[in-house]
């Protein structure tokens, strides 16, 4: 116990010792066309990551066109008025860059990691495709096949992904969060080139984007480059975003998925609040975040200790909660059954674990460990400029400024046991609960292996 106190004291000193300050290392600018630029200086190595984030993700899609945000992300590599199809990636590769792109419910992002002298080259290319993308119908058709293969790989043949898809579609009835990011297969099959082009015209604009640059750079030099390449792009009037507010859930929901697997699984999700960017001091979101760490922050957190180790109900168990997002938030707990256990037993075990915390609270030792890990993680995350840029970008997309990230860390440290107990009593109620279970089916073998008669070479 004495060691715990010392350790925490040492961590507090280290983190507050001003060795690192996001406030002084980070710089924000805005161009006349509305584009925002955030630069995080980090001079530990001669490398840079350049990202552009568009505030348009699958939650901005409309009925029958699910998946279009992600399809367009793929099409962004298919050329512009000046750059031929495939040339974008070839030019990034030539300067030694690593690149990719990602689509989420809240946003779409593109990035390149490069040696620092190559920043201008990749920025020129990225700015060009903010305004000038063009692709043929034929090329669209082929890439759509690729996206359908992606869906087969990551969802259709993956029971855990299918469960998540069912969970979201069951928990939400009005919010566009109910649709999968990659889109429903039928919507993909019926997607037209014009759908993707319209999406691009609607949302790809400097006034809907944030550029994040992190690494060994001079912020003013970056600003000059951004003005040169992104500056001339015209702002657009963005489509109206309908709120599509999820109505209050009035009763528990359940769904069962049958899919090939060995062990039964359960996912439980409660409707909970997220952090409102205008009310940064509200307690509940921070209490929920600490609760998620109490449940599954390290090997001896409650879910692993109780369900996996002590009671042998589960082979694995975990909890998750996101503090910030554009859409409605869920607190999720999932578990995979141990041999001979049922999802009913898992459900009881999970509810009992929550009930114990609601009744008895969490110990001071648990809170200290969570705070120690939180503070240490503030140093460890500095090991990756990519992770730093991701944190800034995703927070900004959710409407939370990078300036508030330190304040959030401080708020989390103030959370006490009674606030966690209160949050459980308020939000972990059956009427706001959705449960999806996996009923495992045998993966039927269709025939005996052919070729080599199934035998091995020896």
């Amino acid at each position: 116990m004495a060691r715990a106190l010392n350790a925490l004291a040492a961590l507090c000193l280290l983190v507050s010792g001003n060795a690192f300050s996001a406030q002084t290392d980070t710089h924000e600018y805005q161009l006349k066309n509305g584009l925002r630029l955030i630069v995080r200086e980090d001079h530990r190595a001669p490398t840079v990551v350049h990202m552009v984030w568009y505030r348009a993700g699958s939650m901005d899609e409309v009925n029958g066109k699910t998946g279009v945000a992600h399809v367009l992300e793929h099409m962004m590599f298919k050329g512009t008025k000046k750059v031929k199809s495939g040339e974008f990636s070839r030019m990034v590769a030539a300067v030694g860059g690593r690149e990719n792109a990602f689509t989420a419910r809240d946003f779409t992002g593109y990035f390149q990691q490069i040696e620092k002298s190559k920043l201008e080259e990749v920025m020129r290319l990225e700015a060009d495709r903010m305004a000038n993308v063009q692709f043929s119908d034929e090329e669209f058709g082929r890439e759509l096949q690729v996206v359908m293969e992606e869906r087969r790989l990551r969802t259709e043949d993956n029971p855990t992904s299918l469960m998540r898809e069912l969970l979201m579609a069951t928990a939400f009835i009005s919010s566009p969060y109910r649709h999968p990011i990659i889109g429903w297969m039928s919507d993909l099959q019926n997607m037209k080139p014009a759908d993707a082009r319209q999406w691009y015209r609607d949302w790809y604009a400097p006034n809907n984007a944030v550029v994040v640059v992190a690494g060994d750079v001079n912020p003013l030099a970056v600003k000059a480059l951004v003005e040169k390449y992104y500056g001339p792009i015209q702002a657009k009037k963005l489509p109206e975003r309908k709120p599509q507010v999820e109505p209050e859930q009035k009763g528990e929901k359940r769904a069962v998925l049958k899919a090939p697997a060995e062990s039964p699984q359960i996912m439980m999700a409660w409707k909970v609040p997220k952090l409102d960017p205008n009310k940064m001091d509200e307690v509940d979101p921070y209490a929920l975040l600490v609760l998620s760490a109490v449940l599954s922050g390290h090997d001896n957190s409650r879910l692993n200790r109780e369900l996996v180790r002590n009671q042998r109900l589960a082979n694995s168990a975990g909890a998750s909660y996101e503090l910030t997002s554009r859409g409605p938030e869920l607190f999720e707990i999932g578990a995979t059954a141990a041999k001979g256990q049922t999802v009913q037993n898992l459900e009881k075990g999970i509810l009992q674990t929550l009930q114990d915390i609601a009744n008895q609270g969490v110990t001071e030792a648990e809170l200290k460990r969570i705070k120690a890990q939180l503070l240490a993680s503030q140093i460890y995350k500095r090991d990756s400029i990519f992770a730093q840029a991701m944190e800034i970008g995703s927070s900004e997309m959710a409407g939370v400024s990078w300036r508030d990230l330190d304040r959030m860390i401080e708020r989390i440290q103030l959370i006490q046991s009674n606030q966690i107990q209160q949050a459980i009593k308020t939000y972990f109620i059956n009427d706001g609960l959705t449960i999806v279970t996996l009923d495992p089916q045998p993966r039927s073998m269709l025939a005996k292996p052919r070729g080599m008669s199934g035998s091995l070479r020896h």
Binding site: A45, A104, S320, A376, M445
Partner: protein
């Protein structure tokens, strides 16, 4: 605590990294002589107040007894499931809590060639010193509690059964079985092999393999030579100096020439996609053809979105989301693998494209333009391989395990620059051969 669900343009970065684990020396590798005559290695960087330690143990799953596949992995897993501690014990819960309250982490796992234990801690002595003691005890004094072992065996057995329902797991299991042939890495853990492992087996394996002459300590971070020496001495000093002679493993033999009818293996499986892996044995890391193969594979199937395989399979035909090739060179073994996943009804067409693309590359090698593009990417992008403590440790680990020269990082780009078109073509011809290449398909192709 983070859960952003994301779909990406491609699954490329991890695969491109497999072959490419080397880099340059802004920061030198320091060799540290220890009192028992062995060495430890350090890359000192004071950019962040943290230290990473890796203990690399010549105790990979290739040393699993024939009927006890999974022994090395279970032994590694038990290092964080309870330890002897200052005349008493810390049970698994106390051990986990003690590590967590320091804001640190300790992990252990076994791969084919070696077992790796890693710790990450802040360097402040009040935090680091107790963490080091926990790390030393984790490696040297696990208690192998019988009831916890029972539980872990159950979990592993369930995971094996779960894996047997997943096409990618079934594919890799069979692929390894074929490519490794008579070498022990052909085997995978089974329900029976896990059941056969007892407490005494773990204790014996730990006693026999976790010892001074089979261990390398690698350090990266905010610590100097003298400090690193002290750390390494403590770790090494807690282990036995030597042990019994370990029986020599069977040789790692080249994939034989197979009759044409035996080169494709189909495992019927009820899925929407057929998963395909094609490959054979290749080179260990110290082979002089390492760099020509590295550069060549960038062109063939390693280079992000610009490789020949991506062009032929994905861009031209829309057959697959992920298509790749890589060499996986170890200290004593090495394999080549190319693969993709595609809709069942086009699996045979996709396999044909995969085979033809690889065969043509082995025959003709890269064009001058492709070679130049590959070298430009590898050389220009070199700093990206070294820009974090984590990446520095990965490089240090590969260099010391594979017994490469300590200036490997300094001369890496020179080696890449020196590769010529014929070097690539000759190296591919020397090491790969379509007659020796086996393709495994898992899926319900008609």
């Amino acid at each position: 605590m983070h859960r952003i669900h994301i779909f990406c343009k491609g699954l490329v970065s991890s695969i491109a990294m497999l072959l490419a684990a080397q880099a340059y020396a802004v920061l030198p590798i320091q060799e540290i002589s220890l009192s028992n005559g062995t060495k430890a290695y350090l890359i000192q960087t004071n950019a962040l107040p943290m230290i990473d330690i890796e203990i690399s143990i010549d105790a990979g799953s290739r040393y699993d007894p024939k009927n006890q596949s999974g022994l090395a992995a279970l032994t590694a897993a038990m290092l964080t499931r309870g330890i002897s501690w200052q005349g008493s014990t810390l049970n698994e819960a106390q051990q986990a809590d003690a590590i967590a309250e320091l804001g640190a982490s300790i992990s252990a796992s076994a791969s084919g060639e070696r077992t790796i234990v890693r710790a990450r801690s802040l360097s402040k002595p009040e935090l680091f010193n107790p963490l080091l003691q926990l790390l030393v005890a984790s490696v040297s004094k696990p208690i192998f509690d019988q009831s916890i072992l029972m539980r872990e065996k159950q979990r592993v057995s369930s995971a094996i059964q779960e894996g047997d329902t997943k096409p990618e797991v079934v594919l890799q299991k069979r692929f390894r079985q074929i490519v490794f042939g008579n070498y022990p890495l052909a085997r995978s853990p089974s329900i029976e092999s896990i059941a056969a492992i007892q407490e005494g087996d773990l204790k014996r394996f730990h006693q026999d393999f976790y010892r001074q002459d089979r261990v390398i300590v690698n350090l990266v971070g905010n610590i100097d030579h003298a400090g690193a020496k002290q750390i390494a001495e403590q770790i090494i000093g807690a282990l036995p100096a030597k042990g019994p002679t370990i029986p020599v493993l069977p040789p790692f033999e080249r994939s034989p020439i197979e009759p044409e009818s035996q080169r494709v293996i189909r495992i019927p499986f009820q899925t929407q996609q057929t998963h395909i892996a094609m490959g054979m044995t290749a080179i260990p890391r110290d082979n002089p053809d390492y760099f020509p193969l590295l550069v060549g594979n960038y062109v063939l199937g390693g280079g992000g979105f610009v490789s020949r395989l991506v062009g032929e399979v994905r861009d031209k035909r829309g057959f697959a989301y992920s298509v790749f090739s890589y060499f996986q060179p170890g200290r004593d073994t090495g394999t080549f693998e190319a693969g993709l996943q595609t809709r069942n009804d086009q699996a045979d067409q996709a396999l044909k494209v995969l085979q033809e693309t690889v065969a043509r590359f082995i025959e003709d090698g890269p064009s001058e333009a492709e070679l130049a593009a590959a070298k430009a990417n590898l050389i220009n992008g070199y700093p990206l391989r070294l820009d974090s403590n984590r990446k520095l440790l990965d490089n240090l680990s590969a260099i010391t395990w594979n017994q490469l020269p300590l200036n490997t990082l300094d001369i890496w780009t020179q080696h890449v620059a020196a590769v010529k078109k014929d070097d690539v073509r000759n190296a591919f011809k020397r090491h790969l051969d379509m007659r020796r290449m086996i393709s495994v398909l898992v899926g319900s192709a008609p």
